[in-house]
């Protein structure tokens, strides 16, 4: 019986893996295919690989700065959301105040509206402030959703740390701020890392806000991809090359903090 279950589970996992990985494998292979192979009626598995797409798109077409933009936007929004959200999450975990749970829920509701309904007013607002087409606009936009993520995830991590640790730190000679920065933050480092990576990934992958708010200089990688859909046809090889580069940091980060990420998403976020 258990053997049969094991087999079934294995088959299910395998099926999920095939479904999840096939498109990625496809993109990966396409990035090394010549235009002819990429457009072949019957997809070819064996072909003569070409390395032309990578230099073409990143050097000749000037997509390299977009990588930098994506890094800048994703790191900045992560940092900004953590700096604001982590102390807020700590207060939610430790202190009682009027309408606390309502406020906490409010953070979540900011994620309930469809982004498209928010992005137009946001564009008008940022235009008035004169910051459209700058990474700053995207950083602020991404922070709106990352902030709620930080507060929700980190509250659970802080709640896991016994209150007596705070008190012990203060008895050991820390001020309230010192206790938080020198003891609580290091203690919640695993949760902090998971949250940071998740923020980074969400911002890195985000398309809609970035697409509406920046057009030229401040473009991120995701926004750059549609630029390869030309009137003369879609440059599949180059699209694939950009996609591969765009997914690399995500894969690396996810592997690094996989364990904490799962815990943070299931345990930390649910326990409030």
């Amino acid at each position: 019986m258990s053997r049969a279950w094991r087999g079934a589970a294995l088959a299910a996992v395998l099926a999920i893996l095939v479904v999840a990985l096939t498109p990625y494998l496809w993109i990966f292979l396409t990035s090394f295919k010549s235009r002819l192979d990429a457009l072949a009626d019957t997809p070819v598995w064996l072909f003569t690989p070409t390395l032309e797409h990578y230099p073409t798109v990143f050097l000749d077409k000037g997509y390299l700065p977009l990588v930098w933009n994506s890094v800048l936007v994703a790191s900045s929004t992560t940092l900004l959301s953590l700096v604001i959200g982590v102390p807020a999450a700590y207060v939610f975990a430790r202190h009682d105040f009027a309408a606390k749970e309502d406020l906490f829920f409010f953070f979540l509701t900011t994620r309930m509206a469809p982004p498209i309904s928010v992005v137009v007013p946001m564009f008008l607002l940022f235009s008035a402030l004169g910051i459209t087409d700058r990474p700053l606009a995207v950083i602020l936009a991404h922070s709106t959703f990352n902030l709620s993520l930080v507060v929700w995830m980190m509250r659970g991590f802080f709640a896991d740390i016994p209150r007596e640790i705070d008190e012990a730190a203060m008895m050991d000679g820390h001020s309230r701020a010192g206790m938080f920065l020198k003891v609580l933050v290091p203690l919640s480092a695993p949760g902090l890392a998971a949250t940071a990576v998740l923020c980074f990934i969400l911002s890195w992958n985000e398309f809609l806000y970035a697409f509406v708010l920046v057009a030229f200089e401040g473009r991120t990688l995701t926004v750059g991809i549609p630029g390869l859909v030309t009137p003369h046809g879609t440059l599949w090889g180059q699209v694939a090359a950009v996609a591969v580069v765009a997914t690399l940091p995500i894969i690396v980060f996810t592997f690094l903090v996989q364990r904490h990420l799962v815990r943070g998403l299931t345990f930390g976020a649910v326990k409030g």
């Binding site: 016994p162 007596e164 008190e167 012990a168 008895m171 050991d172 003891v183 203690l187 480092a189």
Partner: protein, 359 residues
């Protein structure tokens, strides 16, 4: 000099009165035990002294200095927590060294002090470990070491032994007493365990419902409890208390009648400890006959639960329970110098008659 609570109150936001104008003064160097049932305010008093909780009223002075509004770090006190509260991401060594580091003690000094304290608590072998690799008793020692390493004037302990198993609790208790003797610091120890309080304290502050009921040496708390509450709270099994009446120099409760001389007439609560009842196998001039209900062996003693016309008592003595059967006659004497009388309404202890009392 010493530590002084002056009318310290604490009302929590939900309206709970944890401390009700507490007055308490003790000297430096004492081992003060705050004893009381849950909700008595003992932990709150300790936390207010530490600065972890803000008093709603009153003030606290240490050696004449008002510390009421000071943050914990400026009070010169340390604390041992019930759940140890060790820093999970630091080694035992770093846990103990931490208060010294925060207080910017010179490096060489830190190492010397940590090792000395670890040796004193016999945890020198554990310095490289992480808190997760320690047993409960070891973790407790590390917590004590961390609290004492920087030589604070006052060390607060909030039920530090409650998470240890029984045997270890006894052992650690002895260690703490030894430590107090060696270091000469002021210890303030919170517990609900009267036995811990009796063995550890130089003085015991018995609290109930946010009020100080009695503050005395263990001996006096035991022999001269100020109220019926203290009398019943201290000592196991609890003191026998009987609500009755004195009339014509006799105390009557149910079917029990005792000659008492020189006491005011009227309703009263009579008390006597199980271990002070004298058990006789045959009647004597002063004994009263009871009927045995249950006999429990608590080596080396025996507890006898006896009855007489609606009055139930517990007596503690050295009788072999195998020789007694349910319903057997047990003769008890009530030594005059071991009797306690409490006001029927307030529960306050009534004055000793004829000044005849031991201790």
């Amino acid at each position: 000099m010493g530590v002084r609570f002056e009318a310290v109150s604490k009302v929590f936001p939900d309206g709970t009165v944890a401390l009700d104008r507490l007055d308490l003064t003790f000297e430096t160097g004492e081992f003060v035990v705050l004893l009381g049932p849950s909700g008595s305010g003992k932990t709150t008093a300790c936390r207010i002294l530490a600065g972890l909780e803000e008093a709603s009223g009153g003030r606290i002075t240490v050696d004449g200095r008002d510390i009421t509004g000071l943050p914990p770090r400026e009070r010169g006190m340390s604390m041992v927590f019930q759940n140890y509260a060790l820093y999970a991401h630091k080694s035992v060594y770093d846990n103990i060294a931490y208060p010294l580091r925060v207080r910017k003690t010179p490096k060489g000094e830190i190492d010397r002090m940590v090792r000395a304290m670890a040796a004193l608590l016999q945890i020198d072998e554990l310095l490289a470990r992480r808190p997760a690799q320690l047993s409960g008793g070891q973790a407790q020692r590390v917590a004590v070491a961390r609290a004492l390493v920087w030589q604070p004037d006052i060390c607060l302990m909030d039920e530090p032994l409650s998470n240890l198993d029984a045997l270890l609790r006894l052992h650690t208790r002895t260690e703490l007493k030894r430590l107090h003797g060696e270091l000469g610091k002021t210890f303030v120890f919170v517990t609900h365990d009267q036995e811990e309080a009796m063995t550890l304290g130089t003085r015991i502050a018995v609290l109930n419902e946010g009020k100080l009921i009695q503050f005395d040496t263990p001996k006096r708390v035991y022999h001269q409890p100020r109220t019926r509450f203290v009398a019943e709270f201290i000592g196991r099994p609890a003191m026998n208390t009987l609500e009755g009446e004195i009339a014509g120099n006799r105390f009557r409760a149910g079917g029990l009648e005792l000659p008492v001389a020189g006491r005011a007439e009227g309703p009263v609560v009579f008390g006597i400890r199980p271990e002070h009842l004298v058990i006789r196998e045959s009647p004597t001039a002063h004994s009263i006959a009871f009927e045995l209900d249950v006999a429990e062996l608590v080596e080396p003693d025996t507890l006898l639960f006896v009855r007489k016309d609606g009055v139930a008592l517990v007596a503690r003595g050295k009788l072999d329970p195998d020789r007694l059967s349910k319903g057997a006659a047990v003769h008890l004497e009530f030594p005059e110098d071991q009797r306690h009388f409490f006001d029927a309404e307030t529960g306050e202890r009534q004055g000793e008659h004829q000044g005849k009392h031991t201790s």
